[in-house]
Subunit: 330 residues, 2 copies
């Protein structure tokens, strides 16, 4: 008898197994979305959880303060993607005995600082002794039902847009890798900013048809959105809002393609949305007055593939995300 291991099963199949087994709630939905939603009457309670494991999810260069910040930021990013307002977080710290008190205090300080920076607090948690640092954060928030932005709802003809710029985190990663001294580059990689204001502003437009964060990278996120909505995308390479930080690599000639970083690297924690063509200009103007750039990067198509347009050239967009960023939420 062949005993299947998780390693053979693959993560997508594992999540399908979970979805098959779990009893569906009458007041909840959200398996496969950034957050679960629970019906609270006029609002949804949004809940999301993310685990970080030292060996696979924590870059060696991260300070304990940044680890704490990161844990909170990645959870708040899921609340942001649904247009939510955070209510609080609980954090579980699995820590080895040998961890110093200073490390521990900095970890808590970083987590607290990120929560407070985005208008919320850490309300509780758990500590356990483990052999490797294993951290688990759960964020919760609320969103008015009519403002909730689901992952499903993209229609052929809609535009595809992203907030902010692409490739900041990738630029930071390579700056670290090449031991560059540009500290502000590292920061985008190690201390990501959850786009809560952006999500709330987009939700108020009431014209977003689907939304998710792009923590896994733009291409991986597009493939997730494509599958769940049973549509396709045409993405214009020249329209991608490359982060200015990427110029650094063009100058230094490390042989890295900035478009590849922008498309595949991940860690930018921007929001990827689809919305009706008619609504996009108004949304862009409205967000601009609040300091938020929303860039149209393509369109939703009936044809169920993802095409990258480069002038007259067309090719199928590769689906690759960097594994250390990949989320396997269910």
């Amino acid at each position: 008898m062949v005993v299947k291991r998780l390693a053979d099963l693959g993560e997508r199949a594992a999540i399908r197994r979970i979805a098959e087994i779990l009893t569906k709630g009458t007041n909840s939905k959200g398996i496969g979305d950034d957050c679960a939603t629970i019906d609270l009457g006029k609002e949804y309670l949004l809940v999301t959880t993310d685990m970080m494991y030292q060996q696979t999810h924590i870059p060696a260069q991260m300070t304990p303060y940044q680890i704490g910040w990161f844990l909170v930021a990645i959870n708040l990013s899921d609340i942001a993607a649904k247009g939510g307002i955070p209510l609080g977080l609980v954090l579980s710290f699995g820590l080895p005995k040998k961890i110093s008190e200073l490390f521990f205090k900095e970890l808590i300080k970083g987590a607290d600082a990120c929560a407070v920076a985005f208008g919320t607090t850490i309300v509780g948690g758990d500590t356990k002794e483990t052999q490797e640092i294993t951290l688990c954060g759960t964020a919760f928030g609320t969103v008015k039902k009519d403002l909730f932005m689901s992952r499903t709802g993209a229609h052929p003809g809609d535009v595809v847009a992203v907030t902010g710029t692409l490739g900041k985190a990738g630029a930071g990663y390579y700056a670290l890798k090449y031991r560059d001294s540009e500290k502000k580059l590292f920061k985008a990689f190690l201390e990501p900013v959850p786009k809560l204001k952006e999500g709330q502003l987009l939700a108020k437009q009431r014209s977003v048809t689907s939304s998710m964060d792009i923590s896994d990278g733009l291409s991986a996120s597009l493939y997730q959105l494509q599958e769940i909505n049973n549509v396709g995308f045409e993405i214009k390479k020249n329209a991608l809002p490359l982060a200015s930080e990427l110029c650094f690599f063009i100058d230094k000639n490390h042989g890295i393609d900035p478009y590849s970083i922008a498309l595949h690297f991940g860690g930018d924690y921007e929001l990827l949305v689809t919305m009706s063509v008619e609504a996009v200009e108004k949304a862009q103007k409205s967000l601009k007055t609040r300091g938020v750039n929303l860039t149209v990067i393509g369109t939703v198509t009936k044809k169920k593939n993802i095409v990258l347009l480069n002038g007259k050239n067309k090719r199928i967009l590769e689906n690759k995300g960097y594994e250390h960023f990949k989320k396997h939420n269910f």
Copy 2:
């Protein structure tokens, strides 16, 4: 310079450090209670999180189904202790690659079964690859503000009471240890029952002055309640509602004192409450009609120690909980 490690600091001190660093929310409280509470207007949102780590928190005899059940049960027990109604759970699974698909499916089935058995569902989660099984559950629920049972509020003169019986889990542990075949004994240890009905019935009495679950063991829980309320307790040994399962050990003469198990072992997930003397009889009758036993085991005293009365003998109750059950929530 002496670098303090978490191991030197101790868990209570670690939790004090966390509480000192964290920014307090204006709409939340609960550090040091079973659940955090968030103000939702007429209700509190209750949130609690618990982490289980293979090497220290998962007995080798636990089946994957039981591990899943346990993860959900320990979180729901915290909702129960506050009189709450569960809304849902999110679970994070940190699992090694070598785990079989069968193990994984049984884990999910056990978690789902426990949630459904207590009227709720698992609404989302996260999966990550780790080296040791590391699981994190977060439960949330609601409670009407006037029904919320805090850990603080015990007054000298109040009675101390527990739901159900004491020592079931300990009996199961020793039955496993001595390789006894009494499967029903194991179940109380490996598949604990969160006392949600009990908590909700107690809350409706509106006479409970403080409440917590006794997952850490009765003595450890009494010491936590004593410290937080700045009171003392007199506990009557003969009043302790020993689980019938403990008789097994008296008969078999393993040299184990059943009272010691009932007082210190933990894992029973019953509720420990204080309430006014006047209200207790009514509460007992009311709970009895719903099949719940509430046993008065002592009184709250002004003197800030915990005394165990055995007929005419008085001694200070030892503060010992079994480490594998100890919770270090904040």
